[in-house]
């Protein structure tokens, strides 16, 4: 099984660290030791490694279908049993048999494609997890996939589209917004307002490390305590509590020397412009895009990992 070069996916790495940030916020409201993390961590179990680093008290379960990837996971596991259990099964079968009871969960449905069954699994999960569980879903959001294929998109996703009369947008931001609306409709259908639990988003992003992706994190929360959750996340820099447009992650490739040069100037307002001046040269096509990229760096610099060459 082939896997993308994870070290060449800086935007995904940023997204992963924002999840850790969201979980840290959640710890203000509940005890994280009551939670189990479930993820589709791929061969390197990167998200599991991070969680073990930041929240070692949390139990973790990895779901992997491919036998060879499963073996690689065993090789890369960041910690032993019982902290991390590796399950060899597909996500659909796992969810079908999953019984939460009162056990709170953090689920990351980290899909690489965009298929109708992914939304069905998301809906199934929202109906199964215990109150105060966190669910993150990542989906492919690549407008090129459906260029001049509006009918195919409608046949696949019509029941979830806000208005199926229209073709899917041709630009990344619009396409990601459409996928977010489809996630919202799925969540409202899974947990309608007549039910005591609701799904509240806390953050949403879109990015591309070669392929457009959309990701949204939210919580299954009691309607009667909605205000407490919103209050807790309200001042988080990445908060998206009312289904606003997803935020773009597009961090620039900077050398370690450049990053160290810029980092002590942050945080600051109008960062794109001042960081460009601090560098004294362009890192992208023109002033505008350079300032945008440096603005992205300023926004995500705390969540931007260092990728370094190492000699084993």
């Amino acid at each position: 099984m082939r896997h993308p070069a994870y070290q060449l996916r800086p935007n995904k790495a940023v997204d992963r660290l924002t999840l850790v940030d969201a979980i840290r916020r959640l710890s203000k409201l509940t005890d994280l030791s009551e939670y189990t993390y479930f993820g589709l961590g791929g061969p390197y179990l990167e998200d599991f490694r991070l969680l073990y680093e930041f929240h070692p008290e949390m139990r973790m379960v990895s779901i992997e279908e491919d036998p060879e990837t499963y073996k690689r996971q065993r090789f890369h596991r960041p910690c032993g049993v019982p902290n991390l259990v590796l399950k060899r099964t597909d996500s659909r079968s796992f969810l079908a048999h999953y019984e939460a009871g009162n056990q709170k969960s953090i689920f990351w449905l980290d899909y690489t494609g965009l298929e109708y069954p992914h939304f069905e699994e998301f809906a199934m999960l929202l109906g199964k997890v215990a109150s105060k569980s966190m669910v993150k879903i990542t989906l492919r959001a690549e407008p090129k996939d459906y260029l001049r294929k509006g009918n195919e998109f409608r046949e696949k996703f019509g029941a979830l589209m806000p208005n199926r009369s229209y073709d899917p947008p041709r630009v990344a931001a619009g396409f990601a917004q459409l996928v977010q609306q489809m996630v919202r409709i799925t969540s409202e259908d899974a947990l309608p307002s007549a039910m005591p639990l609701m799904f509240i988003p806390v953050s949403s992003f879109y990015y591309s490390d070669g392929t457009g992706m959309f990701t949204l994190t939210g919580l299954v929360w009691p309607r009667s305590e909605e205000w407490a959750l919103r209050n807790c996340f309200r001042d988080w820099e990445f908060a998206n509590l009312h289904w606003a447009r997803p935020r773009r992650i597009d961090v620039p490739m900077l050398s370690t020397k450049e990053r160290l040069h810029l980092q002590h100037r942050l945080p600051r307002s109008n960062a794109g412009r001042s960081l460009r001046r601090a560098l004294g040269y362009l890192i992208d096509e023109d002033v505008r895009s350079t300032e945008f990229k440096l603005g992205q760096y300023a926004q995500f610099h705390r969540h931007f990992p260092y990728f370094m060459k190492a000699i084993p």
């Binding site: 099984m1 491919d66 298929e115 109708y116 069954p117 939304f119 069905e120 409608r154 046949e155 696949k156 996703f157 019509g158 029941a159 979830l160 589209m161 806000p162 208005n163 199926r164 009369s165 229209y166 609306q181 919202r184 409709i185 409202e188 259908d189 309608p192 307002s193 007549a194 609701m198 309607r223 289904w243």
Partner: protein, 474 residues
């Protein structure tokens, strides 16, 4: 028992109670359907106003705006308003028997739609309407709803003059469940309402009516059928719909069934069975009554699937779609239920027409079964027939066809049976080869053969077979 004992019994009071209309009748209809009832009133208003335009877009220039939020619902139109002479019909709970339809070609029969929609949603309502010189407002309050003895509604002259004749209905003091759907489930509700309007009103929107929901225009999604145009001097089989038309007891019927897209390959059918890939399909029957769709893409016995010699609906028949249209000046003759979103399955007329629907469907299920092993070839035939036509375009195109009378049948009329292409006899010697292999291995072979691991598995299998066949013939 003496005669005196009998005198103790007085007459029984059978007058209705208001709570029956407010709490019981509203349970028979969904929220979305009750909003469609309000749209029906808009269209009836256009027909009544006699301001319809000619040609293919009789409703152009007319529009309805629907706005909902957590504390209110509003629908506003420019469709002519309610003349004061009709107030007795428009606001009375139900229609008196023997009363003639006030709108030829409308769909209102029972005189309940608007009131039921209002009571479904809330406890307070203000209806403002303007029709020429008639300009008045009627207010329904929670006090009036709660008073079983008060049946009269006060009417006052409207304060403001509207630019165009029309009606605005504002519902407030929403019932708690409705308020939640308009706020907590707003995205889901809007999507579903949009979808229902786009499908049930497809033919009316196509004829020029504009509808907006919370500011967003609704685009029609009409059923389209593949119709190979008749060229003079050309004969032979071609992809066209089956068509039947008749007029009986004041009802005009026109139905067409055919292909809306190419038939699916066996791989498409199998993968759909294993995992539901499509959330929405355009297959099945749409039934229209005076332009409103009362059934949309139905694939049940209600429209003949799985009855008599027609097979049950299956993904194999994903490409088959049909429209049956009923049209009458007297809405009570149309085969629809009180909610106007379903078929009265006991209607004699509908049962007779359903025979024709099945007859037409059978032609296309047969074709599908004959060509299913050669879906690629069939795809080329269907695609060569050109872009599918809307129902109105099919009706126009049908004027150039030669119909045959069906006098011997119970329901007399005229029908057109298309002559669809048949596989050549040699093609019937074809055998399907199918097998299952590990996904990883299929990707590996696809990469070896095509330098692309994502190539469709059926192409990979076919290429393997062709290679070995070539080898065996050396």
């Amino acid at each position: 028992m003496t005669a005196k004992d009998h005198l103790q019994y007085g007459p029984v009071d059978t007058s209705p109670v208001k709570s029956f209309f407010v709490h019981m009748l509203t349970r028979d209809i969904g929220l979305e359907e009750s909003i469609l009832d309000l749209l029906d009133n808009c269209v009836d208003g256009i027909l009544r106003s006699d301001r319809t335009n000619g040609g293919g877009t009789p409703y152009s220039g007319f529009c309805a705006e629907i706005d909902f939020k957590g504390d209110s619902f509003m629908i506003s139109d420019n469709c002519g308003g309610i003349p004061w002479r009709l107030h007795d019909y428009a606001f009375k709970m139900g229609r008196a028997s023997g009363r003639a339809p006030d709108v030829p070609g409308g769909v209102g029969v029972y005189g309940i739609g608007m009131k039921r929609a209002v009571f479904k949603m809330g406890q307070h309502c203000l209806i403002s309407t303007q029709n020429g010189r008639d300009r008045y407002e009627i207010e329904i309050t929670p006090k009036w709803i709660g008073d079983e003895n008060e049946w009269a509604l006060p009417v006052r002259a409207a304060r403001d003059e509207r630019n165009e004749d029309g009606t605005t209905i504002v519902v407030g003091k929403l019932n708690p469940d409705i308020a939640k759907r308009f706020s907590g489930d707003a995205a889901s509700f809007k999507s579903k309402l949009n979808d229902m309007v786009a499908t049930h009103y497809a033919f009316i929107i196509d004829k020029g009516f504009r509808i907006r929901i919370n500011g967003d225009p609704v685009k029609a999604r009409p059923t389209r059928l593949v119709f190979s145009k008749v060229r003079s001097g050309t004969k032979g089989p071609r992809i066209q719909p089956y068509i039947f038309k008749t007029k009986t007891d004041g009802v005009e019927v026109f139905l067409a069934v055919g292909f809306t897209r190419p038939i699916p390959s066996q791989d498409e059918v199998i993968s759909e069975q294993e995992e539901k890939k499509y959330s929405s399909l355009e297959a099945g029957w749409t039934v229209l009554c005076n332009d409103r769709a009362v059934l949309y893409c139905d694939r049940s016995e209600m429209t003949g699937w799985g009855e008599a010699d027609v097979p049950r609906y299956h993904t194999q028949f994903i490409a088959i779609s049909g429209v049956a249209e009923f049209r009458s000046d007297d809405a009570s003759k149309l085969p629809t239920t009180t909610t106007k979103r379903g078929i009265d399955s006991s209607s004699r007329l509908y049962l007779q027409v359903k025979n024709r629907m099945r007859e037409g469907m059978r032609i296309f299920t047969d074709y599908t079964n004959k060509w299913k092993t050669r879906a690629d070839e069939s795809r080329r035939q269907i695609e060569a027939a050109g872009a599918p036509l809307t129902f109105e375009e099919v009706k126009t195109e049908a004027k150039g066809l030669t119909f045959r009378s069906t006098k011997a049948q119970v329901l007399r009329g005229d029908q057109y049976r298309p002559k669809l292409p048949l596989p050549r006899p040699t093609q019937s010697q074809a055998r399907r080869v199918s097998f299952v292999k590990d996904a990883k291995d299929v990707r590996a072979v696809a990469e070896y053969l095509f330098d692309d691991p994502e190539v469709d598995p059926s192409r990979v299998g076919e290429e393997c077979f062709d290679l070995i066949l070539k080898e065996s013939r050396k």
